[in-house]
């Protein structure tokens, strides 16, 4: 999956779960999750069990999802200097860095942004004072006298900021820092605090990243079983005639070929429950159709001619026929390795068992031998496994 594909994937997930996208670009989303998505993605089971039990109004989290790190960072770096040239711009810049959610909030509490953790990478100069303020006994004497603006030497633009503003900023900054600490120890940041532009967790969405994996998992957990109807084309059928529909069992199968290594195939089958007709690449066909969970008007379902189990076994037989036609050289090679390994440890252990000094030792060596044997089988034994990715009942136009 390249950046574009990931971006599209994330977007479709957010739309499907009714998340509220606050801001987006081709390389990121700032999104307030819907309750459903929050349950899947934020790892806060305790919070949700609290909400469920007390019927409290849930407050979902807001994330910055970056789908193209390079472009996003470049864009951020590009906007920063421009904003810093404005009077007091350092604060505003930090606001955007924090994800610019509710930019009004960031503007109202400019100092709040200054407590953004240093890992945000962009912040006004006065944050630099924090290590000395919070550092345990850092510095012999001057800890208490460090003003919030002491870092001004490092960042020229900040000097142009109105000095009274920076004092005020320091105050709000502290309050916000306290809130942030609270948020951290509570394990979540309440949305209201979020609104001040305080801290929006940033997640990198690239193929292999943890958050995207979690999104994959979330899609699977809520995208496994469907029951759908093809939407009739508008105006095609006269209101007085009824269109015949067939129910299909649609299955996406993953087949794993494994020994000490592994490869996989994915097969998609559709079996007509009316006739038992079985077709491949069924998923592709479905994707070309418009499907809806609601029963359309003016249709009638063909009578199911076979049971669910019969349909299933038709699919299994079709898959089996296909798999039987494959080349199993890999399995032969794996079996050869397996035999070799077994022979090697046989030569090692048999004499050991034979010459063991006493029965107890003999027993323990034998156990070790058996353990090694089972490990080798576990490691090398060739096997093929077929399991469903997801499946559903699809009602499609026509009788097949």
């Amino acid at each position: 999956m390249n950046e574009k594909q990931v971006h599209k994937f994330v977007q479709r997930y957010l739309e499907a779960t009714q998340c509220q996208v606050l801001e987006k670009s081709p390389c990121h989303f700032t999104v307030k999750l819907s309750p459903d998505a929050d349950r899947e993605l934020t790892n806060r089971p305790y919070y949700w069990s609290f909400v469920d039990r007390t019927n409290a109004a849930p407050e979902t989290m807001t994330y910055l999802l970056v789908t193209d790190r390079e472009k996003y960072d470049a864009a951020q770096a590009g906007t920063l200097p421009a904003q810093q040239r404005l009077p007091g711009g350092a604060f505003g810049a930090a606001g955007t860095a924090a994800g610019s959610i509710g930019s009004a909030g960031a503007a109202a509490f400019p100092g709040a942004a200054s407590s953004v953790r240093p890992d945000a990478g962009i912040g006004p100069a006065n944050t630099i004072a924090s290590p000395t303020v919070h550092g345990d006994t850092a510095g012999l004497a001057s800890t208490s006298t460090v003003p919030a603006g002491s870092g001004s030497a490092a960042a020229g633009p900040a000097e142009s900021a109105d000095s009274s503003a920076s004092t005020a900023a320091a105050d709000t900054g502290q309050a916000a820092a306290a809130d942030a600490a609270l948020g951290r120890s509570l394990g979540f940041v309440h949305g209201n605090i979020n609104q001040t532009g305080l801290r929006i967790p940033r997640e990198e969405m690239y193929f292999g990243s943890r958050k995207l994996d979690q999104l994959f998992g979330a899609a699977k957990s809520k995208g496994s079983y469907v029951f759908l109807f093809q939407e009739p084309e508008r105006g095609a059928a006269s209101p007085y005639s009824s269109t015949p529909y067939t129910a299909w069992l649609g299955i996406n199968m993953r087949v794993e070929f494994a020994c000490d290594r592994k490869r996989e195939e994915i097969h998609s089958y559709g079996i007509s429950l009316a006739t038992g007709y079985c077709t491949e690449q069924f998923h592709d066909r479905l994707q070309r159709l418009k499907l809806t969970p609601r029963l359309p008007a003016n249709i009638h379902l063909a009578k199911n001619g076979l049971s669910f189990n019969k349909a299933l076994s038709i699919m299994e037989q079709a898959l089996e026929r296909k798999l039987k036609s494959y080349d199993y050289e890999w399995a032969g090679a794996a079996t050869e390795r397996l035999e070799e390994e077994l022979e090697r440890i046989r030569l090692y252990y048999e004499p050991l068992i034979e010459h063991a000094a006493d029965d107890e030792l003999k027993q323990s060596v034998r156990e070790q031998y058996e353990q090694r044997q089972s490990e080798i089988r576990w490691q090398y034994e060739p096997r093929v496994t077929a399991s469903a990715i997801n499946c559903g009942i699809f009602h499609l136009e026509g009788i097949e």
Binding site: E40, P118, A154, Y206, I389
Partner: protein, 610 residues
């Protein structure tokens, strides 16, 4: 994360048995159907729902298609690790372990070539392919957190450090061998089938009779990696034992091995055959012989003349030290704090002051020594400026680049922080006592905002400062290994610039001698990484640690500079001799060099950053 989110156990017995159906597919292969999904579908049909969303259904399928493992061979993990750029030898090592060794191997690269990266690649590949889930990683206690961090940050593998009993239930657990082999953990671990076991510093398993070795033998494991830079330390049996852990019988039975490959404990025969036998189970990449493996180091000593006040303090302290030594006789252990005192004067008055105060408290109230200590404090009071600090600031301003300053003393560190701050220079502290999060924070600040990092600790894990290539030794430790550790923070793989090291050295003091010894005599700043260990190990076998020997000389010389100079010169020549021996290598260390001489076990890696 809820259970639903977890990856299904590929091809394992996670699903209820009733849902599994087995068919014969080929004389050698069975096909297993997992029908659990269909049972659930039927269930939902019967209950008329709940039904999932069509978009999510499609996304779920797309995710599976993206994750699909197309071929047996192609390395899948790299595409999911955009942040990691493994070196070519690391990738080829991972491939070899995966494709030719069936996932059981000894990774025996020389120090600094990235065995951890190789192990991480192999592990990640197996995880991505769904062949590994439960993983146990056994490492020395001091490396547990480093492993956890590397796996998480570099490989996106959710590894956890073993802390409590329930930690064992996580998929990837890093623990120390000592913890793991003890009850109650032992039973938990031995009761688990591990898809993969990784053991770092595996040379500690060389002896068959140890509990460590027994424990690892009893582990139930599918794939297994043993990591060590020194697969043979003393004799060939060690190698045999390591291999037996992975593949019993790979080199025949012990007696066959001895007959075929061993002349003497330390001397192999039929070396070619041995290499062939080893090459199916062990990979050893070596650093290029010709190549300078890293960027260059430039070392510059900055000689400094102490101010009159500072010199007065130094002289007074020296006199004080020798007086005490003459009084109490040659009991070295009680004298070491005094030597420290002398060293501290070369660093900062704050450091001396702290030690003096402590000494004052410990001295009996009626002792005449108390008055003498007080006299020294008077000397301290007179000192207005710190010559070294001024020079350091000047250097930092000149460099106009990131720089790390090392000092031995907390008091000096705090003084410097304050001094730099009063001159509008932003410096952040770093020390051993900080917790992990704080250390990380300091690193981030240094990387992002501050020009200067002032550190008291160089050892331990976690500070990798490749983005900085200036280093100031505000004062020098007497243990060359610690100097090397300091340098190692910046001069390591990934450093793209030449490293510049400045030693601040006060003339006419003990410090001058130390800098002279380390820099000019031993030439330690230019030794190959890893060489210093060998030299010191041999040197210290004789007369105790270098630090102690230096302290003794200092005291015994009775304040005579010429005598001290001579003694240190003798010391230097005996170290030089050992260095020459070590560098000549093979004949002298036949046993330990056996494997490192074998070239068929891996590739020679030239690491250069131009």
């Amino acid at each position: 994360m809820s259970l639903d989110n977890k990856q299904p156990l590929h091809g394992s017995s996670a699903a209820p048995d009733a849902a599994l159906v087995t068919r014969k597919l080929h004389p050698l292969v069975d096909l297993q159907y997992d029908r659990s999904t269909f049972d659930e579908l039927q269930n939902r049909i019967a209950k008329n729902g709940p039904w999932d969303d069509w978009t999510l259904y499609q996304l779920s399928m797309e995710a599976e298609q993206a994750k699909r493992i197309e071929s047996f061979e192609q390395l899948q993990c790299l595409r999911s690790l955009p942040m990691l750029e493994p070196m070519p030898h690391q990738i080829s090592t991972a491939r070899k372990v995966l494709h030719e060794m069936g996932g059981r191997a000894i990774l025996a690269d020389e120090v600094g070539l990235g065995k951890t990266i190789e192990a991480g690649l192999v592990l990640k590949e197996y995880i991505v392919r769904g062949l590994v889930r439960r993983t146990l990683i056994l490492v020395p206690a001091s490396l547990v957190l480093q492993w956890v961090r590397e796996l998480n940050q570099k490989f996106g593998i959710s590894a956890v450090a073993q802390k409590k009993a329930h930690t064992w239930h996580y998929d990837v657990v890093v623990a120390s061998m000592d913890t793991a082999k003890r009850d109650p953990h032992r039973d938990v671990i031995l009761g688990t089938d591990y898809d993969m076991v990784i053991i770092d510093e595996a040379h500690k398993l060389k002896n068959k009779k140890t509990t460590n070795y027994q424990f690892v033998t009893e582990l139930r494991k599918k794939y297994c990696l043993l990591l060590t830079a020194t697969p043979v330390q003393n004799n060939l049996d060690e190698l045999y034992n390591l291999i037996t852990l992975l593949k019993p019988g790979q080199l025949g039975r012990q007696s066959e091995f001895a007959a075929n490959f061993v002349v003497d404990k330390r001397l192999p025969k039929n070396e070619e055959q041995l290499q062939t036998a080893l090459s199916s189970i062990m990979i050893r990449n070596r650093r290029g012989d010709g190549g300078i493996s890293f960027t260059k180091r430039f070392v510059k000593n900055i000689p400094l003349q102490l101010s009159a006040d500072e010199q007065a303090l130094y002289d007074a302290v020296t006199a004080f030290v020798h007086e005490r030594y003459d009084e109490s006789g040659p009991d070295l252990s009680s004298m070491l704090p005094l030597v420290t005192l002398q060293r501290e004067v070369c660093s900062s008055r704050d450091a001396v002051f702290l030690t003096l105060v402590n000494m004052f408290k410990k001295t009996a109230e009626d002792s005449p020594v108390r008055a003498k200590i007080w006299e020294l404090v008077e000397f301290i009071k007179k000192i207005e400026a710190n010559t070294k600090a001024e020079k350091a600031l000047e250097l930092v301003k000149e460099m106009n680049d990131k720089v790390i300053i090392f000092t031995e003393y907390r008091a000096t560190q705090e003084y410097l922080l304050q001094y730099f701050r009063s001159h509008d220079m932003i410096a952040v502290p770093y020390r051993g006592g900080m917790n992990r999060g704080k250390k990380d924070w300091m690193m981030d600040l240094f990387r992002g905002r501050a020009q200067v990092l002032i550190a008291t600790e160089a050892g331990g894990e976690g500070i990798n400062l490749q983005f900085c290539h200036h280093m100031i030794n505000f004062d020098l430790p007497w243990n060359p290994m610690r100097v090397e550790q300091r340098i190692g923070r910046v001069h390591r793989l990934g450093q793209t610039e030449d490293v510049k090291i400045y030693n601040l050295c006060t003339l006419g003091t003990i410090e001058e001698h130390i800098v002279h010894l380390l820099h000019e005599k031993i030439n330690m700043f230019e030794l190959v990484i890893g060489e210093l260990d060998h030299i010191l190990e041999r040197f210290e076998k004789k007369d105790g640690s270098l630090e102690q020997q230096l302290a003794r000389m200092l005291l015994e010389s009775g304040g005579s500079d010429t005598e001290l100079r001579e003694k240190i010169s003798d010391l230097a020549s005996s170290i030089t001799q050992i260095r020459d021996e070590v560098q000549q290598g093979p004949e002298l260390q036949a046993g330990t060099q056996i494997v490192s001489q074998m070239t068929a076990l891996g590739q020679t890696v030239e690491i250069r950053h131009e």
